[in-house]
Symmetry: C2
Subunit: 222 residues, 2 copies
């Protein structure tokens, strides 16, 4: 796979552990961290798909906040402005997965970028807070096209920004739907399947499935 000249990474769930918000949620709502965090994440993604289909784009910060509000309402949990601000803040300082920094460092000589649903400000902050500044040539937000993944327009943005051919780009995500969208678009795809999950039945499969980001360097040299 020496033909790959650039890697484009998904951010949330791939480089950064979105469930590291569990602890923040648990502090506010003791014992309910996992369930609220899951509901929040599910709504966050579902809202991006629904808003895209309704042609009613809102940026990811707003979507994330709306998803939090709806999740708390559904569970009848009180969310005062202080709690809301605190939980949203947790989203800006997500933990990178343990292998992230070293795995990216091992990909020297290859152009690295992020393509994410996250708004430009969110991306910049989460990258800096995780100590990953300077590693990526581009932090690309779908905000540039105002439609979310897995729409082709989102992936096209990465091609345009990176100045590489589609065939020269490897796309890396732990979110199966994202890998599926990238594959349909034409990227060479790498599914990071940390939890040994079953693939979704979307009629398209990743080119390569890996247990963690740490396996990327070996693949690229083969």
């Amino acid at each position: 796979m020496k033909s790959i000249k650039g890697f484009v990474f998904d951010a949330y769930g791939t480089l950064f552990d979105v469930h590291s918000v569990i602890m923040a949620v648990d502090r506010r709502f003791p014992g309910q961290g996992a369930e609220v965090s899951n509901g929040w994440r599910t709504r966050q993604l579902e809202y991006t798909w629904l808003l895209s289909l309704m042609n009613r784009y809102k940026d990811f910060w707003t979507v994330t906040e709306d998803a939090l509000i709806a999740t708390c309402k559904a569970k009848q949990l009180p969310l005062d402005p202080g709690a809301r601000a605190e939980l949203m803040q947790a989203y800006l300082s997500l933990t990178a997965f343990p292998e992230t920094k070293k795995a990216l460092g091992a990909l020297s000589g290859i152009r690295l970028a992020i393509l994410s649903n996250g708004s430009p400000t969110m991306l910049e902050q989460v990258v800096n807070n995780a100590g990953l500044e300077g590693i990526f040539s581009h932090l690309i937000s779908v905000d540039g096209v105002r439609i979310y993944k897995p729409s082709a327009a989102a992936y096209q943005l990465a091609v345009r920004k990176m100045g590489l051919e589609i065939s020269e780009i490897g796309f890396v995500s732990s979110n199966f739907f994202d890998v599926a969208g990238a594959k349909v678009f034409g990227f060479r795809t790498f599914w990071i399947n940390r939890s040994d999950a079953a693939p979704e039945e979307l009629g398209v499969m990743p080119d390569t499935t890996l247990k963690s980001l740490a396996d990327l360097a070996a693949i690229i040299k083969s």
Copy 2:
């Protein structure tokens, strides 16, 4: 609201109880009916949104079967061809909600139609098996436009088929995302909220919220 000349109903979850498959699932996988049924329904909807955004439409029978397969794989439940056929069959003979038939009968003089994600064959069978044949002037499937709700193209299909103005059509669904899509499109919307759920935060609210289909007749005469 005497200006309403036609009601367009969503099918699954609105007229027909999709969780009546719980019993069929429970017979195959004792004790797991609710969880498998929920996973199946969640994937079924999410797949319609993802396939629409990827521009990779598959009809709702295929999507429903794929969602069942993926749910069983995710839960490591064996799904042999016999079980698969039996569970899919359950989808064709869903129970109508207790009030459905009488509530529709009370709307005499108003044109009634179904606009559903379901494929034409699925719709015909579920309507007939529930004893609702002859009540609807049109059984409209999004299969005619090969994109799922909440895309505007799906709702437009109902306008075209029914020969009424957008403002003359009331759209009825218990699925919040569907009501949201119909409202964005321009229909007068009625959200059937049987479980007293909190609205989703999609930036759009139903015109009217009702506890059951039985409340429609009174509204229309007001």
